[in-house]
């Protein structure tokens, strides 16, 4: 499997303004309980000129996913396109994946017996879970499966400034590279050359 075709997230921190649209869109789309945020926006050095920056963080669907490595019940599976998913019916809610994750992506709702941690929940890149695609049961457990419908994950679709980009690493790097390359090139003109017809 070539590295190039893996699905990746990229958050352009030149554009992220901590609007939390991604976080709320994800929560709404998958009908998550209010305390759980599959996607969070973090801001570092808030209020300090020249240093403040924000970025949106969720599961990064790592190539060598540490969560998958440490799971005692081996509930993770990594798709061909790089999306890291897990089976909530196998998960025992032990928390090891959280300890291993460099981004703190795994979340544990308190819906187990006696208010203990239930099965782990995390960003699925809107690709659902192991259950039948687009079934009601899949939606209940994992949320929408937009990838199966050919749609972009909800967070990137809703990003106010299009800071959050998702797609195959080839596409993502193409978009980001064209953003950098277009610096100073001027406004993206209308395709019919009307900007030349006027003196402005």
């Amino acid at each position: 499997m070539s590295e190039i075709s893996r699905m990746k997230f990229y958050c352009d921190d030149d554009r992220c303004i901590e609007c939390n649209g991604c976080s709320v869109a994800c929560a709404e789309a998958h009908e998550l309980p209010a305390g759980l945020s599959r996607r969070k926006v973090i801001t570092l050095n808030e209020g300090i000129e020249g240093k403040e920056f924000s970025t949106s963080v969720a599961c990064m669907h790592c190539t060598d996913a540490p969560c998958e490595q440490v799971c005692p019940v081996d509930c993770f599976y990594i798709r061909e396109d790089g999306i890291v998913l897990h089976d909530k019916d196998v998960c025992i809610g032990c928390g090891y994946c959280l300890y291993a994750c460099p981004f703190g992506a795994p979340q544990f709702p308190r819906d187990g017996a006696f208010g203990t941690k239930g099965a782990m929940d995390k960003c699925t890149m809107c690709a659902g879970g192991p259950l039948e695609t687009n079934s009601v049961h899949e939606r209940e457990l994992y949320g929408q499966n937009r990838i199966a419908e050919g749609k972009v994950p909800m967070c990137a679709a809703m990003c106010s400034t299009k800071a959050l980009i998702v797609g195959s690493s080839e596409e993502v790097s193409k978009i980001y590279r064209s953003r950098i390359a277009s610096k100073g090139k001027g406004v993206q003109s209308a395709p019919y050359g009307w900007s030349k017809a006027y003196n402005s």
């Binding site: 945020s37 440490v70 005692p72 025992i92 809610g93 300890y99 291993a100 460099p102 203990t116």
Partner: protein, 298 residues
């Protein structure tokens, strides 16, 4: 009895309600915690934990699970158990209270160790609901263990303090490597028992603490703040310590069970009736025997 059972279950519910309150790792605190994720202010335990858990823990647990009983099997086959006569006046060793506490602790361990191992080997057992129940029972048994380990620690503390006898005992490994019956330098408890005691109590406290940290995950015990580490580093450290200490606990537990129930014929009755065999005490706990004799208790 029913009242106590009810209180026990009620307290579990109450505890869970308290801890089901607003999670802190997932909001403002989390933003601070993000520094722990591999950056400057973290202890960089994440990669360590991942390495250990993915590559080492499972094989080591397997080695202990198979290896320790295997060693004892070999010992039993080659050297065999120590047999003492039942003549002589039995010596009173353990009060009813101590035996009861020990029983509770024993039951707790009998649940803790297997359920712990079920979690370690979860993927080979199919995961899912079975292992989830193992996790819950592990937690319930922890409560049981916690109730018993505190009194146990208190009433045997003095007896278990190290003496020079323990050094001598260690050199001959308690005499278990030979079939000879001779006097072994040991007080009421020998060095082996003492080692197990400290691992079970102090180690047990640590296991309870680290286990609780992992179980509650984000309830702020104040530990993280007082130690100056982030919550996630505390969790990672707890996971590593819990697993590593589990090696020791497991190994010594198997040893203790072997010693108590198999390697010394009839030793287990001391925990049921409270009386030890005269001969057993004279040889295996010779220092204590001599002391009792001086005091005129035998």
């Amino acid at each position: 009895m029913k009242k106590y059972l009810f209180l026990f279950i009620a307290s579990l519910f109450l505890a869970s309600v308290a801890f089901a309150a607003d999670s802190q790792i997932w909001d403002a605190m989390r933003i601070q915690n993000i520094f722990g994720y591999g950056q400057e202010e973290s202890l960089k335990l994440g990669p360590l934990f991942t390495l250990l858990q993915s590559t080492y823990f499972v094989p080591i647990f397997l080695a202990i699970l198979v290896g320790v009983p295997a060693v004892f099997l070999v010992h039993y086959l080659i050297i065999g158990p120590k047999v003492f006569s039942h003549d002589g006046q039995p010596i009173f060793a353990f009060t009813l209270f101590k035996r009861a506490i020990h029983l509770i602790a024993a039951i707790a361990f009998i649940v803790l160790i297997p359920t712990g191992l079920m979690m370690v080997f979860g993927k080979y057992l199919g995961g899912g609901t079975l292992i989830e129940f193992a996790r819950h029972f592990h937690a319930i048994a922890t409560v049981m263990f916690a109730i018993s380990v505190v009194p146990m620690f208190l009433f045997w503390f003095i007896d278990m303090l190290p003496t020079f006898d323990d050094v001598k005992w260690m050199f001959i490994l308690g005499g278990y490597l030979s079939k000879e019956i001779k006097e072994i330098p040991a007080g009421k408890f020998n060095a082996g028992q003492k080692m197990w005691f400290w691992i079970a109590t102090l180690g047990g406290f640590v296991m309870i603490a680290t286990g609780a940290v992992m179980f509650y995950q984000d309830f702020d015990f104040g530990i993280a703040k007082s130690l100056g580490v982030s919550q996630i580093d505390l969790l990672r450290a707890s996971a590593i310590v819990h697993n590593v200490l589990a090696f020791a606990v497991m190994a010594f537990f198997f040893t203790h069970v072997y010693m108590a129930a198999i390697a010394i014929k009839g030793a287990i009755y001391s925990m049921i009736t409270g009386y030890k065999e005269h001969e057993e005490v004279k040889y295996l706990h010779s220092t204590w025997y001599k002391k009792l004799k001086k005091e005129g208790k035998v």
